[in-house]
């Protein structure tokens, strides 16, 4: 059923879009990658899943907590891997945040064990059938929440003072600083936002597969990086489109080729893109205007 697969692909893509957005926010603010975001998503998802399945916490509460946990972990990552690391060493934050990722994974497996955790269905009886097309209630939740978060972020960046400050810092931190923007606090805010997005994407991805594993952090980072490169580093709109594209490609590969080749095809797609169009599929000449 091609159409059904396409829909599933888009739904998978929306969770990728959130995590890619999360990476792109940090790239925008600091021109740096936070390699611990995948693990941030994982730890939020594990905690939320435990709360829902073992403590019977309502999904909505768990979801809000996943945002908070993600935000806190990202803020800690900022302090450990960015704030006090000399900007002279380009690779330092990459190595340091990879280190934070290792620590998070180890801590989670030591505290909660290395089992997969179940994320129970939220809307059991809801099912939409549009002709041959079936959309479950959970898929709808994923779609709506992801769209809502993306929309909120867009409004926040474009309509609020702090949002404007973020965009200002990501365009030119020095000038923004001279104009009285509290650059350090704005950067911290960016990390907090990106962490919250990562947390949400972790839980939503868990909801779509109904399980969460403590070893997915690295994979998540990898997928997000593929999306980010394909969409153009730091290009937020490009990232969303690329996320949907990769979601569709992965779903179709699993459906019609083989699950083993799921990631492979994406990697090849990205590699070819980089050779032909190194600036990413959706970035024009130089995309300050196209970035937000």
């Amino acid at each position: 059923m091609l159409i059904q697969q396409l829909v599933n692909g888009v739904l998978l893509g929306t969770t990728f879009a959130l995590i890619a957005l999360s990476f792109n926010l940090v790239v925008g603010a600091l021109d740096r990658l936070n390699f611990a975001l995948g693990e941030t998503a994982m730890v939020s998802a594990i905690c939320a899943a435990l709360l829902v399945s073992q403590a019977d916490v309502p999904f909505v509460v768990a979801f809000v907590l996943s945002l908070l946990i993600g935000a806190v972990v990202a803020a800690l990552t900022y302090l450990l891997s960015f704030r006090f690391v000399s900007p002279k060493y380009h690779t330092a934050p990459i190595l340091s945040s990879l280190g934070v990722g290792l620590v998070i994974t180890s801590l989670v497996t030591r505290t909660f064990g290395s089992d997969q955790r179940r994320v129970p269905t939220v809307l059991e009886d809801v099912r939409f059938e549009l002709g041959p097309l079936v959309v479950t209630g959970d898929q709808l939740i994923i779609l709506v929440v992801a769209a809502l978060l993306t929309g909120l972020l867009y409004v926040f960046l474009n309509r609020t003072t702090w949002g404007t400050a973020i965009r200002g810092v990501s365009d030119d931190a020095d000038t923004s600083g001279l104009l009285g923007v509290p650059v350090q606090r704005v950067i911290l805010l960016t990390f907090v936002l990106s962490g919250a997005l990562a947390g949400a994407s972790g839980l939503l991805t868990g909801l779509s597969f109904h399980t969460v594993s403590p070893f997915t952090g690295f994979e998540t980072t990898l997928t997000a990086l593929m999306v980010v490169v394909l969409g153009g580093l730091g290009n937020i709109t490009g990232g969303v489109i690329a996320a949907l594209l990769i979601g569709v490609v992965e779903t179709l590969t699993v459906a019609y080729v083989s699950a083993t080749f799921r990631d492979l095809l994406v990697f090849i797609l990205v590699a070819v893109t980089l050779v032909v169009r190194p600036q990413g599929l959706f970035t024009r000449q130089s995309g300050v205007a196209a970035r937000v």
Partner: protein
């Protein structure tokens, strides 16, 4: 030398080779985040040759290095003309591709891997290290080595001096991949068994940690890092259970306290933060100077 000591010495020796190999690309300021892939390419190539074609290890090891160099040159060519962040992402992803491919390839045993490789001796490892050290010794004193350092210091200035920055970086990357491939071959014929998962991200990070801990400025800094990090879990058994946390924290602390590593001085040169965006969107040779 008893068997235990011999095993430890070989282990340390292979770590030194890995560190030295990685240092070659770091000398040009280019960090790979998937060097374990070149290790696995060398390991699998050599293992296939010794197991299925009965080639002597010495020859198989060189072919493994060559395979690493060829693939390294290709990956380098894709990645090195872009910015450092792209290089990080591409090498990171490349290692995953290699792992997935090996995992799905029945000829090399898929996820269960290959079994039965032997033949790595202390002498062989020592000879390899000696060759690499001699190479690096002369490299550090030559104009080629100087051009590596120039690229690490300032790529735009290097271009203005007529250095083909991309070509030189790709060459260094290929040499680095070759040495790593040889080290992978040696390690396969020491551990008896290899699986694709042995060469995942943790192994790549460990190689980086060797060099970053030791210091990137002089190649013997890499040796220091490799020896220290390999001996630590041997001296302190309890680290075995906590090695991921230990390595993770080491990265974090090191980057804050001493990003230049144990050996070497800090730099006080102004850094060209340029704009990543500009770098990312610049065409091949150009690059935004203004």
């Amino acid at each position: 030398m008893d068997a235990y000591t011999e095993a430890v010495v070989i282990k340390v020796g292979i770590a030194i080779l890995l560190a030295l190999g990685y240092w070659v690309t770091v000398a040009t300021g280019k960090y790979s985040f998937g060097h374990a892939a070149f290790m696995s390419i060398g390991a699998y190539t050599a293992s296939i040759l010794t197991l299925k074609f009965d080639l002597p290890l010495e020859l198989a090891m060189l072919v493994g290095g060559l395979a690493g160099a060829v693939i390294g040159a290709f990956i380098g060519w894709i990645a090195l003309r872009l910015s450092m962040l792209y290089l990080a992402i591409i090498t990171f992803a490349f290692a995953e591709i290699v792992r997935i491919l090996l995992d799905g390839w029945d000829y090399v045993g898929g996820a269960t891997g290959l079994f039965g490789m032997t033949g790595t001796t202390v002498e062989l490892v020592a000879v390899c290290i000696a060759v690499v050290v001699v190479y690096l010794f002369f490299l550090s004193r030559s104009r080629k080595g100087l051009s590596y350092e120039a690229i690490r210091e300032d790529e735009q200035a290097a271009r203005a001096c007529g250095l083909g920055v991309t070509r030189i970086s790709v060459e260094a990357f290929a040499v680095s991949a070759a040495i790593t491939g040889v080290a992978g071959a040696l390690s396969a014929h020491e551990t008896l068994i290899i699986t694709p998962n042995l060469f995942g991200a943790p192994q790549s990070l460990l190689i980086i940690l060797f060099v970053v801990l030791g210091g990137v400025q002089y190649f013997w800094g890499a040796i220091v890092g490799a020896v220290v990090l390999t001996m630590l879990p041997i001296w302190f058994d309890f680290l075995e259970d906590y090695y991921q946390i230990t390595y993770g924290l080491m990265f974090v602390l090191l980057m804050i306290l001493r990003p230049q590593g144990i050996v070497g001085r800090g730099t006080d040169r102004r850094i060209n933060l340029g704009s990543l965006r500009e770098l990312a969107t610049s065409r091949r040779g150009g690059g935004g100077d203004e």
